[in-house]
Structures are given as C-alpha cells and as structure tokens.
Point group: C2
Chain length 210, copies 2
Amino acid sequence: MFFNDFIALSPRYRAALINSVGGYKSLCLVGTTNGEDTPLYNLTVFNSIFHLGASPPLIGMVVRPDNGDAERHTLWNIQKTGVYTLNHVMTGFHTQAHQTSAKYGAEVSEFEACGFTSTFKVGFSAPFVGESRIQMGMQLREIMPVALNGTNIIIGEMVSLSVPNDALDTDGFVDLAKAGSVASIGLDGYAKGRLLSREGYAKVPVPVEE
Amino acid sequence: MFFNDFIALSPRYRAALINSVGGYKSLCLVGTTNGEDTPLYNLTVFNSIFHLGASPPLIGMVVRPDNGDAERHTLWNIQKTGVYTLNHVMTGFHTQAHQTSAKYGAEVSEFEACGFTSTFKVGFSAPFVGESRIQMGMQLREIMPVALNGTNIIIGEMVSLSVPNDALDTDGFVDLAKAGSVASIGLDGYAKGRLLSREGYAKVPVPVEE
C-alpha cells in the first residue's frame, strides 16, 4: 500500500500507522517520585526512548503534550526531582506494563495499581522496578522542547546500570534477546526478539592486486 | 552486574554496553543524493531513528559528530537537498546493510558498493532501496544540535510511505515481524522479532460495587 496524503487518514488510523512504521522501539517503564516527605511513586511505560551517546551515557525520551495524565505526571516528577529510572519491560509482564498507560490519578501509584515492586538504590530517590532485569538510574540533563509538534525530549545521563550476567558478553554487548527484553511496535504491539548475528566492524574492501 | 562508574570502563566496552542497554532500536538505511547534475547516491545504515509524532508524521534521527564519513555524507546531503529516504532493513540483507557503515569515500555510492538497487518516486530526488519492504520519503524539517555531546537530531516529516499489504492490519497497525523488519541491538547486533500481543487501550479499572 502506498500513502502520500496522511491528513486524509482518520486520526486513529494515522496514529496506528505512523507509530508502527518507524520500526521496532525501545520499551521501558519509567519510575519517578513526587519528592514529597511521604513520597508517591509513579510508573509509566514509554516506547520513545533512544540512545543519544555513550560518552557521557545519554538517553533521550519523547514526552507527548497530549497523552493525558500518565506521561505528564512523569514529566512533572522529573522536572521537580531531577532523577528517574528506566526499567526494561521483559517477556512475562508486558501486559502489566501496558496497563501503566491508563489514566490513573496523580494520587495513585502505578506500582501498586499494576502490581510492580518498587526497589531502591542507596543515594537515589527514584524507584526501580524490581521485576525488571535491566535497570538504569538516570539524572536529568536537559529538556528540549520540539516546536514542530509540542513534544519535549527529555535527555538524561545514566548514573547506574544493572544488567543480568547471563546476557552480558565479555566485550560489553548486552544480548537483549537473552535478557528477555521486549520491543514495542506501534502504540499497542509487543514483540520479543531473536538475535540473528553480530557483525564485525565494517571496512571498505581492499581491491585485490592483479 | 552493577555499573556506576562509566568513565572507568574502556571506551570500546562502554560504547558496546551503553549502546545495547537502551533497548531494541529501529534500523533503517538512509538514502540521499548529493543533488549534482550527475547525482551520486549515498546510503548509510542508522540505528538511531525514533518516532516523534503522528500528526504531522515526524521522525527523528541522531547523527554523531565523530562517526567518520558515512553519517557525515548523509548529513551534508540532507542539508543540501532537504530530502532523504528511510528504508527498513529486512531479514536477508542485514549483513549487507551493516556494510554501508564502512568508510567509503564521498565519491562512492554505497548502493553499488554494497549491492542495493536505487529506485525513485515521481517528484522526489532522494533514492529508495528497492529491496526494502517499508520505504519512507522524508522532508527535512529541523536540525536540533545537542550541546551535551555534539550530536545533531535531524527531524523529518514523512511525505510518502510504502508498506506491504500482508503486514498492514485494517486499523493501520503494521506488523513489523510479519513484514520481516530487523531491529538493532547495540552497535553491531541484529535481531528479528516475533509479535507477542497487541493490547487494548488501557483503562483504569472501575471498582466493583458492593
């Protein structure tokens, strides 16, 4: 099928289509705290996470302006406290993770509402997801507003990382298929992966001498 | 394994680690033209593509400052011509796609060097990859420099889209596993997906009346 008039599509069809065709997406539960004396812990699934750089370790994340309460509470908490966690969604709890996108009120913790365990690391106030095998502690570095569509790109620096030993290769590569991480397709699709190959560093072929 | 001192890691280990743990990444061959009278067509694999919005359909892409020639030629061409294509990497040619990341000179077309077919759509000067089943024509909308690490985020608007009928659901969802699209892990890992489920729109449960 060929499309070149996206405005003619219904908003729902267009959203499903455009969200899918960008390709497989990274999927994380984002954990935050409201920073009060009796803190409330927020948890929301995001499928708009992207690698921005390794040195320093930076990860970007797109927050939509119109996604109701879930993403907005996350943004508020990150702006207020400067910290958050990224926790991979694993096969076995992707349905539960999807449920965190429902419009729970600001007074509800999605950890409790959706059945996740909040865990903590010393000196870091944002909650991790105990069920996740890949957990990142993130410090806010910058929020870049995108004037084109009113989204915000949150850029964070990774300050801690937990990965399972059985998925960590000797050279630092983490095999996400072995770890059991889930990828996102579109707005509501969830996929598991199978590693096809790792390729060597690509070089321009040297012409054979005659 | 727990990490919290990334500077202590060797640059190569750190790059492999941090590039992997962000999660599965979208993978596209980016086709450009240098816009000359006798045009030269450039093709480079990118694994830093992310969905930014559906209305208008916007896709972001991170270009590294230090990735040698391949990404730099792509950036030059996009800046000069304002157009480019995104073509999904499919199972069956991911090794060939990886090869486009080698440091070919500006005078070499990776289409020819790596064995891809350039195809064209009327009124659009950037080349598509004939072997790809999901092809997007993109118009440059904005280049956002990221001061934190010297990367640039290229934001483009989708102006055309080809998707295979056998992977397009009636509601606009595209099943990337059925299409045969490949996901990226880290710097050099390639994975295929299997759809686990599509979930319904998540709602806050209504309490049962007593």
